[in-house]
Amino acid sequence: MIGLVDANNFYVSCERVFNPALEGKPVGVMSNNDGCVIARSAEMKALEIPMGTPSFQLQGLRRRGEIHLLSSNYELYGDMSARLAQLLRDACPDVAPYSIDEMFIYLDGFSNAQCQALGEVVRRRVRRYLGLPVCVGLAPTHTLAKLANHVAKQQPHYQGVCLLTANSPTTMALLKQLPVNDVWGVGRRLAERLAVSGIRTAWQLRECDPKQLRKRFSVVLARTVLELRGTSCLAMNALEAPRQRIMTSRSFGQATGVKAQLHAALRRHAQRSAEKLRQQKSLTRAVLLFLNTNRHRKDQPQLSPSAMIPLASPSDDTRIILEAVREGLEQMYRPGFQFIKAGVMLLDLVDAQQYQLSLLQPSHKAHPHLMNTVDAINQRMGQGTIRFGMTEAEAPWQLRCAHRSNRYTTCWDELMEAGTHPGAIAAARAKREQQRLARAQRLAQPRA
């Protein structure tokens, strides 16, 4: 049996663990840069505010106190996700995190009843020990587990844990109701093509001949059919394969056309990309840079330049990648444009261990310890403790995150407060504020 543990409204649930005032209220979490809504509580969904609603459209509701909108607090979500994975590792033989809020658990050799019991234990523990509500879907394959999880979430009488066997009448009934684009791995485009052949439900897909699908569509779809029938054929390592390219890009808080500022933003993205590169133990052969102007501003001149800089030899050294960034910006920069987004992509990656050294090229491991040390320090002391070059603190390209909650689990100065009696937290805050004001006044007075 394979299980999928999926947190309900993960970002909102993380926020609620540390802020009880959000319980039972409509809460939304905004994307990077406070652009649009990317996570909604059940109450927010009930207000029919769709996913991806631009934040500025909701400012009225927020000001009237009808909804809560928060900036995304990825440090908090990342830490809670790591805790969730560890909790599952303690309870199950094998765990594979699939995304920040979805984890597969592998329960080979367990009976169905044992799986069901374990699913209930896991759900209870996550709720109790971490404060997060999760649903568990159990089934013989990844695709069916995903479906079982969907059912556990939608249908309250399962109480958050749903076990589906491949040939049970329940599974059959569910598949007959399920539109084909709700099946894992079937996108909207593919669903449209399938509809032309008369395949509209998951059940119809399951009844297709995989060999024919393989010819007409793809191997992946043929595998999906087998998965729906209960034959597991998505290997776990397929989920874990190192990425072939690494991309870091962000929209700016405010558009800018100043070359030095664009350079600073690109440098920061390059440093982050290089860190990810070393984490998966790869080397990059080329660096791709790009800038975008705001395409919604029809009144402004538009330009989306990019530059590709091949490296002399594959490398994971931040300094070499930064040199490529400088070269690339020289190539693509044009004055007179207001850019809103910058990105750095590392591509054509090779495995650092398997890479054969060329006799003619300088070794890519000239300073292996330097990069390892930088990564280790940044991991321990917080991202950006050691940087290459200075960045302005209040640069316009920096992220907007005006409504970010505290980093309760990763920052000593931002811990959650607990009062010893009702009103104690508010009183302590007022006292601190008073002290701050008094200090400011003292400093403002000229010395006698």
Binding site: A21, G131, T420, A424, I425, R429
Partner: protein, 168 residues
């Protein structure tokens, strides 16, 4: 670690050993706690008698430096840190600004000090019987016990330890 009472013998031993190792000044105590659920560091220092080749007599004893994490945190994955605000738990050794080590995986029992969500507020209270029924109690005459029956109260975690720092 109750600052209002004289240090127990255990606390005293701990403090001396921390001082004698001298690589860890006492003010480092709080910053040595892990920020995330990473495995706890247990440095092993095997005794060696220099380069002479003569085996150290301490070799068979495998000394291990004391680690405050190991002592205060039993379940790192389910432990969270909070800051205390208010004066009504001073009788139990919890002062404003103290660091609370809260374990969410401990089942609450009478006598435990709990963090609870009580009517949309985060409270630290002692879980105890008052007039025969469970209440959230303070250690201060100004704040009467809060009855648990018919209130919106949810357990958040059990306070395992309190860290009171004397120096900034």
């Amino acid at each position: 670690m109750m600052p209002s009472q004289p240090a127990s013998s255990e606390t005293a031993t701990f403090t001396t050993s921390a001082l004698t190792t001298s690589t860890f000044p006492t003010t480092m105590v709080a910053t040595a706690l892990p920020l995330t659920s990473r495995p706890l560091p247990f440095p092993t220092l095997y005794g060696r008698a220099g380069f002479s080749g003569f085996p150290s007599p301490a070799q068979d004893y495998e000394p291990r430096t004391l680690d405050l994490n190991e002592r205060l945190i039993k379940h790192p994955n389910h432990t969270f840190y909070l800051t205390a605000a208010g004066d009504s738990m001073e009788g139990w050794g919890i002062f404003e600004g103290d660091l609370l080590v809260v374990d969410r995986s401990i089942p609450p029992r009478l006598g435990h000090i709990l963090v609870a969500m009580f009517e949309e507020e985060v409270l630290i209270k002692r879980y105890a019987l008052y007039q025969g029924t469970p209440h959230l109690c303070s250690a201060h005459p100004h704040y009467p016990p809060l009855p648990l029956a018919e209130t919106n109260c949810q357990l958040w975690g059990v306070v395992r330890a309190v860290v009171h720092e004397y120096l900034p």
